[in-house]
């Protein structure tokens, strides 16, 4: 009897232990997933890829893209509320402590992509419903985003550390050395080549086709990258892949109001190739930067009206991309991101409406990239035709018309540069366009870059800026002090050491 009782009580106790074990011996978090439990299904892979896109909507990232792409150039001016660090960039007083040299938002996205690329390929072993092509399509998106991010870093910093492995714990953090510009460029091309091979042509809906990376978005990135490296043949081929698809057309430019509404206010137009999809739940940073009365950046209105869009004194002809299109001539508001509608009776977006898409690539960009490449391939007439196509849509005025001589390569190249300024004002491309144009043929056109840089600079530092720009290393930003302290293998970019 006692024996039986002992057995019963013992087994009860054992049972109790077993049950409770579950609770107190487990080390897995109760309120989340760990990596070993993730990467099991294709849905999880899809969610991780979506996470890469989500990280592109980081406000800091888009602010960086705007600052890096615009403010060192000629089209954006400061206000009384511009951050000191931004003013210092505008005046080319750039120290490694400048907060806009912080590249962490970009590397955050790169790490998201790295994570997908490291653990994603294993999902196919766990989830039998995931096909090879579906898996590769997901990986292609991550490759493309990573390539795009490194392309921004390459153009902004020159030499950067190449991190292509996922970092998920502190133990994974590596001390990396900088890679050469060529190595970074090769990585970009490798990523884009993979993406080009496996990316899908369509996701089945217009919004997803513009908001996610299709094969055509990859072609656009490739075209841009090839152009950066002066590989004109490859650039033309990439552009043609987009143009010949017939999927994209220029938004009509009959009225400034409709053009603005379709292309910028509504977004995801027939022209869009890849746009960052801000919406009411994910606002862009532009409300405080550009829209409020305490805005930080305004258009350099005199320069834009005199030198970029041209001034028709009768007031009858006007470039729709100019006054009251891209910007407001009277107060300099940068309308592309600030406007709810354009034209003389323009209206501004409210704080909860500040979700203008950040357009990474659109069809006009492809046309002008192709024109740029063509003119160096001595196909001047084709280049001029493309330029005129964009000009006609924008109702460019005769005053801004340049060389019509198809054999004048240098003139057409400058024409493309000027037309890109009109077409992509404030879209984060101007500085990179100027730098690409200036650095070609061993910095033959350096003066164009310098002239743009001094337009909004105070007169008493212009001589200093001119001399600084003669040092081509000054065209790239320094590595942030914090990064140098965290990663002892990093060496400060040349020019910023002294």
């Amino acid at each position: 009897m006692t024996k039986l009782f002992r057995y019963i009580s013992f087994s009860c106790a054992a049972l109790l232990l077993l049950v409770s074990c579950n609770k107190w011996l487990t080390v897995k978090p109760q309120d989340g997933l760990i990596r070993d439990d993730y990467w099991q299904t294709k849905e999880q892979l899809a969610a991780a890829v979506t996470g890469c896109y989500e990280s592109l909507l980081n406000q800091d990232l888009v602010e960086d893209l705007f600052v890096w792409g615009e403010i060192r150039a000629d089209m954006v001016a400061s206000t009384l509320r511009t951050p000191d660090d931004a003013v210092n960039i505008m005046q080319d007083n750039i120290l490694p402590s400048n907060s806009f040299t912080d590249w962490s938002p970009v590397y955050k996205t790169i790490n998201n992509c790295n994570t997908v690329l490291e653990y994603g390929p294993d999902v196919i072993n766990k989830d039998a419903t995931l096909t090879d092509s579906a898996q590769n399509a997901y990986l292609a998106e991550a490759h493309a985003i990573r390539g795009l991010m490194y392309f921004y870093l390459l153009r902004t910093f020159g030499e950067v550390p190449l991190q292509v492995k996922a970092v998920s714990t502190d133990a994974d953090v590596e001390q990396l050395e900088k890679s050469s510009k060529q190595d970074v460029y090769n990585q970009i091309i490798t990523d884009l080549k993979f993406a080009e091979k496996y990316a899908v042509r369509s996701f089945g809906s217009n919004d997803r086709d513009k908001g996610r990376i299709t094969k055509y978005a990859v072609f656009a990135m490739e075209a841009d990258a090839y152009l950066w490296d002066d590989k004109y043949d490859s650039c033309v081929i990439a552009c043609d892949s987009i143009i010949n698809s017939g999927l994209y057309t220029l938004v009509a430019g009959k009225t400034q109001e409709n053009w603005f509404n379709d292309l910028y206010y509504t977004g995801n137009s027939s022209e869009g190739i890849f746009e960052l999809q801000f919406d009411a739940q994910a606002l862009n940073p532009f409300y405080s930067m550009l829209i409020t009365s305490s805005n930080q950046y305004i258009a350099s209105t005199d320069h834009l009206s005199n030198d970029i869009y041209g001034l028709d004194q009768t007031g009858l002809a006007a470039d729709i991309r100019g006054n009251n299109g891209s910007y407001v001539g009277t107060n300099g508001t940068i309308l592309k991101y600030a406007g709810a509608s354009a034209g003389e009776d323009y209206t501004l977006r409210t704080s909860d409406e500040s979700y203008a898409h950040w357009i990474v690539y659109r069809y006009a960009d492809v046309l002008l990239m192709k024109a740029e490449a063509l003119c160096y391939l001595n196909r001047g007439q084709e280049a001029l035709d493309l330029i005129n196509m964009v000009r006609d849509r924008g109702q460019a005025i005769d005053l801004t018309q340049e060389s019509e001589d198809p054999s004048a390569t240098e003139d057409i190249a400058k024409y493309v540069l000027d037309e890109r300024a009109r077409e992509f004002a404030f879209e984060g491309k101007r500085w990179f366009d100027l730098l690409r144009y200036a650095k070609r043929d061993n910095y033959k056109n350096l003066s164009v870059l310098t002239e743009a840089a001094i337009i909004n600079a105070p007169k008493n530092v212009i001589q200093t800026i001119i001399n600084k720009y003669k040092d081509i290393n000054s065209h790239y930003l320094p590595i942030n002090t914090d990064e140098l302290q965290a990663d002892k293998k990093l060496v400060q970019n040349p020019f910023y050491g002294n």
């Binding site: 206000t79 009384l80 210092n88 007083n93 120290l95 009365s293 209105t301 005199d302 009206s305 005199n306 001034l311 028709d312 004194q313 009768t314 007031g315 006007a318 006054n323 009251n324 001539g329 009277t330 107060n331 300099g332 003389e344 105070p458 007169k459 008493n460 530092v461 212009i462 001589q463 200093t464 800026i465 001399n467 600084k468 003669k470 040092d471 081509i472 290393n473 000054s474 040349p494 020019f495 050491g497 002294n498």
Partner: protein, 559 residues
């Protein structure tokens, strides 16, 4: 017994080791005495003696290491050993100890600023603070073999910048800095290219005024000066081959020492107070010179600096270029610039200025607005020629009103709306076009509107004799009767909506741009519609020309 002994030994050993344990561990407790481990400037130098040992010796010799290792905020331009060595070599010395201690002190003072200056505040000109030695340092950037460095005083490159230490900032330089040793007068007389000008300086007695080092000058307003010197080749090109020629051409009394002699004035016209480097010059529009009431105007265009490049009465007078090479030469009392043509006082007779206040570039660059529609300015974006008393955002804004016609036959179809008085601007200032020194009658021309409001006009803070009421229409009467009362038509229309009113006569003393201020003496109203301001020399016809709506001047009724 034995056991007890063993126990005691054991006890002693344990106690000893325990005590020694305490003793040993006690010594290890770290006590932090300082709030920071940052070193001061001297500390940094001590840590890098392999590069800066010679400079460290200089500090020890002079005792300056005392204050540089204490609390403060300094900027040190720190020369490397090789820089100091070449300095020693240039003075044929082998070691620091052979140098005179006072000269080492001066040397150090010239490398020190009693404030922190980072490269961010460097310009093309002088630094905002004097060195401890009492001379300005100039900065810039220089490029050699594709590498760009900040250059200090045109003598040294900064090879490591913005090193933040506990009590200041260090910039490491590859060459020593040596202060200027000559005064402006000394510079001019030492340079054979300036021989005629130097003689003129001596003959006028101005040589002595320009020969006082800034630190020794009792008159602080004239301690630092800017001299635009005239080279012999410029004189030669103007047919002046010697000082005698110059005296013959300019001196009207024959005694250049007389301050009213025109040769004296000619030289005075080349001297400006304060040390203005080119980077300072480009940021201003005019300077008053030592010649009484004679100003120099400055224009910066296409990267060149021009003096007296002005449009007078519609005629462009090409300016005098200041070349960058040969200018910005530091002296102990200022800075010397070169000029490429003859800088002389121009005799001008006053000419009338019919100023349409709406002809400013900010609005004319907007063809959609200019002459066509209205635009009201946010308070922080006023056109550059307007200054308002205060810009409370709630107050009615200053507006450009374009496209006016019909009952408003205003010139060029536009006027400025300047809301003034209670709950509005107390005053507003406009910068006039260029006015030649002389006596002018000042006519205010407006579109009558709104409530009664008395406005006072002052020019360069001289209050004009008469006030006006902007709500009053032009009285009736013949032109002569009206003019006798201080009224006139300024447009070709006969409408009484557009009166012109004589607010008084002003003697403009200096040629240049001036400031006209409107002050509200009563009321408070938005409808203060200003169309034109006319400055007409008092001996000229005040009635004509009149302007039509297209802005065309008509010189008689039949025209």
């Amino acid at each position: 017994m034995k056991k007890v002994f063993k126990q005691r030994v054991l006890f002693a050993v344990i106690a000893l080791s325990f005590i020694s344990g305490i003793w040993l561990s006690c010594r290890k407790v770290p006590i932090v005495y300082s709030t920071s481990t940052d070193v001061n400037i001297v500390g940094y130098i001590d840590e890098h003696l392999d590069s800066f040992s010679l400079f460290r010796q200089m500090l020890s010799v002079t005792g300056y290491d005392g204050f540089l290792s204490a609390y403060g905020s300094y900027t040190l331009f720190l020369p490397t050993n090789s820089a100091v060595q070449s300095y020693l070599k240039s003075r044929s010395k082998d070691s620091i100890s052979q140098l005179n201690v006072d000269s080492v002190k001066d040397f150090l003072k010239f490398h020190l600023i009693n404030d922190t200056v980072y490269t961010i505040s460097f310009t093309d000109g002088k630094l905002p603070y004097l060195t401890m030695y009492g001379q300005y340092l100039v900065t810039g950037a220089s490029n050699s073999n594709g590498s760009t460095y900040y250059r200090v005083n045109r003598q040294a490159n900064i090879i490591e910048s913005n090193l933040r230490e506990g009590n200041g900032v260090i910039h490491v330089i590859d060459n020593v800095l040596t202060p200027a040793t000559k005064t402006l007068a000394g510079l001019v007389s030492a340079d054979p290219d300036y021989s005629i000008f130097a003689e003129a300086l001596k003959a006028t007695g101005l040589y002595d005024s320009l020969n006082i080092a800034a630190v020794d000058n009792a008159d602080s307003t004239k301690a630092w000066l800017t001299l635009f010197a005239q080279t012999d080749s410029v004189f030669n090109a103007n047919g002046i081959n010697s000082y005698e020629d110059l005296k013959e051409k300019y001196s009207n009394t024959g005694n250049p020492k007389d301050p009213y002699d025109s040769l004296h004035l000619f030289v005075d016209y080349h001297i400006v107070n304060r040390a203005n480097y080119l980077a300072d010059i480009v940021t201003v529009t005019s300077y008053s010179t030592w010649a009484p009431l004679q100003a120099l105007t400055v224009k910066y265009s296409n990267d060149s600096i021009l003096l007296n490049d002005d449009v007078f009465n519609g005629v462009h007078e090409p300016g005098i270029l200041i070349p960058r090479t040969g200018s910005d030469v530091s002296a102990t009392n200022g800075v010397l610039h070169k000029t490429t043509s003859l800088l002389s006082i121009k005799q001008r007779s006053p000419f009338p200025v019919y100023w349409d206040v709406c002809q400013y570039t900010e609005i004319m660059n907007l063809p959609a607005y200019y002459g066509k529609q209205s635009y009201y300015y946010p308070w922080d974006q006023l056109p550059s020629f307007i200054t308002a008393a205060d810009g409370k955002s709630s107050r009615p804004q200053i507006g450009y009103v374009g496209g006016a016609s019909g009952s408003s036959p205003v010139v060029n179809y536009d006027y400025l709306e300047l809301p003034m008085g209670s709950n509005r601007m107390d005053w507003v200032e406009l910068k006039t076009p260029m006015l030649v020194a002389g006596t002018y009658k000042v006519w205010i021309c407006w579109r009558t509107a709104g409530k009664s409001q008395i406005l006072q006009v002052s020019i360069d803070s001289t209050v004009m004799q008469r006030t006006y009421n902007k709500s009053i229409y032009l009285p009736s009467g013949t032109d002569a009767v009206l003019e006798a009362q201080g009224w006139k038509h300024y447009t070709t229309s006969t409408s009484s909506n557009v009166p012109a009113y004589l607010v008084g006569t002003i003697n403009i003393q200096t040629t240049g741009q001036h400031t006209i201020r409107f002050t509200a003496l009563s009321g408070g109203d938005n409808y203060n519609w200003l169309d034109m301001i006319q400055f007409i020399p008092s001996d000229m016809d005040q009635q004509w020309p009149r302007f039509d709506q297209d802005g065309i001047a008509h010189y008689s009724a039949s025209e």
